[in-house]
Symmetry: C2
């Protein structure tokens, strides 16, 4: 059996990949590698990630060109993505080497309590399901794989059906680079095909799952993991509505600018961002929907969608929004040919945002909704109807806009990232980043799939009670040696220390 | 409807409590309080926890006496538990005030990235289901409630059916103390009855659940939470088998001592500990089962069980172990009367430890199993068949016992806490403690229900992008003020700082 790859610009077949039958043997190799990895130091794994980053950069041109035939995301975007992938792989290596992620904590023995040493250890072999919309930065070698390798886990990644050929080439490059850098065989494996993906999550050797994609896909894998004899965590980052609030002062002073920015953000990558701002709350009487509509016409057609199914879902999403009480106020036909979809902006009364309404759900594509609020109370009530989101934004008239603090506080209760006068699309991979949020933004609201905290998903703590140094895990044994206490940040008898 | 309370020593009714009908109004009060709490500083909440601890100590005698009538755990144990509860409430206040749990992280703006401030915020109102076997330290005001209040969450606790009267009195004392200390109304509520408990988990206002108890109970609540429209995390700490390994050198040098310690640990509190060591791996030919049997006879009968159902489960557990291929090698009849149960030690061939066998599951009571291993390979294979456990132990002939490091390493892959020459029963509440482990020890292997890390369950991160200081959450606003950067530990531009 093969999985076919298409050119979204034409709908023509560009290649095919073989489905993986022997998932068990790929997982077995990963679990063997995981045992070796549990004994490696973070600095060693940083070397592997640097080698991987170098290899990605060496093949940048080839990778971006190949991905463009399967995704139609364009060379400029894909070139930047490949470059970003290399940088983020190095970043995760740095985070590992810094050592805070180990959470090393030592309590000396007292008259009534034994000595305890607490450190985190890699969970083992993990499964990674990358996103279709970011073939590099959130793909086969993206944030999940980078952070998992950094944390000391072996990774079995599922090739994405919308860019199989790119995944195949990434797998070859990664396998070669990791082997050359001295990483154990099996540290990174790939499986192809829908059945292989579900078999992967069911495999007893898999200890955790990372996923980036749709709510339907993420929830399906989460259910499978919950039905296992040993239930394992699924860290699913799923798409959401990502509300934007325009304050009255901002509406009065910069409506056209914000409307143009909103269109730029919700049509970026043809609206195929999990952080796409899907819903704008504008002050009553601001005519924001008309301003957005004008900006949309100005922007012109969005490029083709990633897959035929996504294009069809955009059409269905538009229809279901209208069925749910929204009205199309602006509409730009797609480019035609291939997986074309129209861009649109709709308006609805704020009262239509009620639990169970389709208007509260994401439409993955260049489609957004505008509602108007009469006052702060109606805005707060409207925001309160929303599901959890990855991001929420407020556009203000400046740092002293009196409407801003209350909106920021309300959004903080419902989203993983609040942006002020910034569009939510795009998430930098830094120490402070949080890419997550309450269900259904993610399956686990405490965890981030981007940034330094991404490593936390792939480790679990173990406390060693009255354990002699020789029996502590390698790396930790040295770290908690009182003769060399500054190796990594530690908490010793309750006091945080750092190298 | 009422829930009846019994004296386990006699089986006689000692009182009854009214089931809660108005769960929704208790939750509504908690969600209102949670909004207030989100704006409080950790130091303020430490004050509330200290007031709570003071009140518990003031009523120590009364509480221990009342609990003894319902639990039959004995005054010595219950006096110590009440005292421990007060100390641990103060500890969680200290952890909050230290501020590391907030994970404050600041990345300055760069040419290509916006300013990001990442901090954790309380998740809101949470539900707590305390354990039956620890009415104070893991009960209504135990580790879950203490850590949740410290983290800034409002708590709705479910009264435990095996000590309703104690819960009722604890609720009165807590409500009065919290109000006197200035905590907002609704910060702590209680519901009573099975139906009230499931309604609580289904309540849209509840953002997370803490549970300590049986696998059946924890899994049931986890399923209910997973069926919600907004799925929420359930942090269930469930009982496990907790293996113990005796090395060949230890068997040769200190078998009788270890056998007596094993009996002391697995019959402690009549075996009603989630960390009870249920399975001893001894070297072949060591006659460990006989030594344990002798020690058990020496120890004499265990006290009555907490409930009639637990006593019945001990009898059924013994029968099912025999059905699964184990043989009773030592048996001490219970005290008779009330919820009496026999204590027993069984032996089985190590080959009987195969996936799906009843021998791999916990028997909550004074019952343990001994298996013999021929060599290190058979020991590793046997340990590999076990489910995840809260704790695993190894007993050695000393720090240079050559058998120890490999066993510690194997156990670390399967449990949350490894103890060396210490029994697993009892878990101190310190910075380094980890009380958790892979499924089914807990529903979430990364989290701890005891110790400083217990707070992490009740917060989730939010990143604030390009957000002016005035719109940051109170407490954090000041903490990330560059004019006062030492208030709490922070990471600034990737570098960990501390006050």
């Amino acid at each position: 059996m093969t999985v076919t790859s298409f050119d979204p610009r034409t709908g023509r077949v560009v290649g095919a990949a073989e489905e993986t039958v022997a998932v068990a043997s790929v997982v077995a190799a990963a679990t063997r590698a995981a045992t070796v990895l549990a004994g490696t130091a973070p600095g060693e794994r940083r070397g592997w990630l640097e080698a991987l980053a170098d290899a990605v950069e060496e093949h940048a041109d080839e990778l971006a060109a190949l991905a463009d035939t399967e995704t139609a995301l364009g060379r400029a975007r894909l070139d930047a993505e490949v470059a970003g992938l290399a940088v983020q792989l190095r970043f995760y290596g740095e985070v590992a080497a810094e050592g805070s992620y180990l959470g090393a904590t030592v309590d000396s023995a007292t008259a009534t309590a034994p000595r305890l040493v607490r450190v985190k250890r890699p969970v083992g072999a993990v499964a990674v399901f990358g996103a279709g919309n970011f073939p590099f930065r959130y793909g086969l070698l993206g944030h999940d794989t980078g952070s998992a390798l950094a944390a000391g886990c072996a990774v079995v990644a599922k090739a994405h059906p919308a860019h199989q050929l790119t995944c195949g080439r990434l797998a070859e490059i990664a396998t070669e680079a990791l082997a050359a850098a001295g990483a154990p065989a099996g540290v990174f494996g790939v499986v192809t095909g829908l059945r292989a993906g579900t078999d992967l999550v069911r495999s007893p050797g898999i200890a955790a799952v990372g996923f980036t994609g749709s709510q339907a896909g993420g929830t399906a894998l989460w259910r499978i993991a919950n039905e296992r004899e040993q239930v394992i965590p699924v860290y699913a980052e799923m798409g959401t509505v990502n509300p934007v609030v325009l304050t009255p002062a901002a509406a009065a002073s910069r409506l056209a600018e914000v409307a143009a920015g909103f269109v730029g953000s919700f049509t970026l990558g043809s609206g195929q961002f999990c952080t796409k701002p899907g819903l704008l709350f504008a002050p009553a009487g601001s005519a924001a929907a008309q301003a957005v509509s004008a900006a949309l016409r100005e922007a012109g057609p969005s490029p083709v969608m990633l897959t035929e199914a996504i294009a069809a879902n955009v059409r269905r999403g538009l229809e279901s929004f209208v069925d749910a009480g929204a009205e199309v106020v602006g509409h730009v036909p797609g480019p035609g040919g291939g997986w074309s979809a129209d861009a649109a902006v709709l308006a609805a009364p704020i009262g239509a945002l009620k639990r169970g309404s389709r208007l509260l759900e994401e439409c993955f594509g260049p489609v957004a909704l505008v509602v108007e609020y009469a006052d702060a109370a109606e805005l707060t009530a409207g925001l309160g109807e929303l599901q959890g989101s990855l991001a929420g934004s407020v556009f203000t008239a400046g740092d002293d806009d009196p409407g801003a603090p209350a909106v920021v506080a309300t959004l903080a209760g419902q989203v993983g990232r609040v942006t002020v006068n910034d569009w939510p699309t795009g998430a930098t991979w830094t120490w402070a980043q949080h890419h997550g949020g309450p269900w259904p933004a993610t399956s686990n609201p405490a965890h981030s799939s981007v940034g330094a905290a991404a490593l936390d998903r792939w480790v679990r703590p173990v406390a060693f009670q009255s354990t002699p140094a020789a029996a502590l895990p390698p790396g930790v044994r040295e770290a908690v040696d009182p003769a060399d206490p500054w190796d990594i940040p530690q908490r010793i008898d309750g006091v945080l220390t750092r190298p």
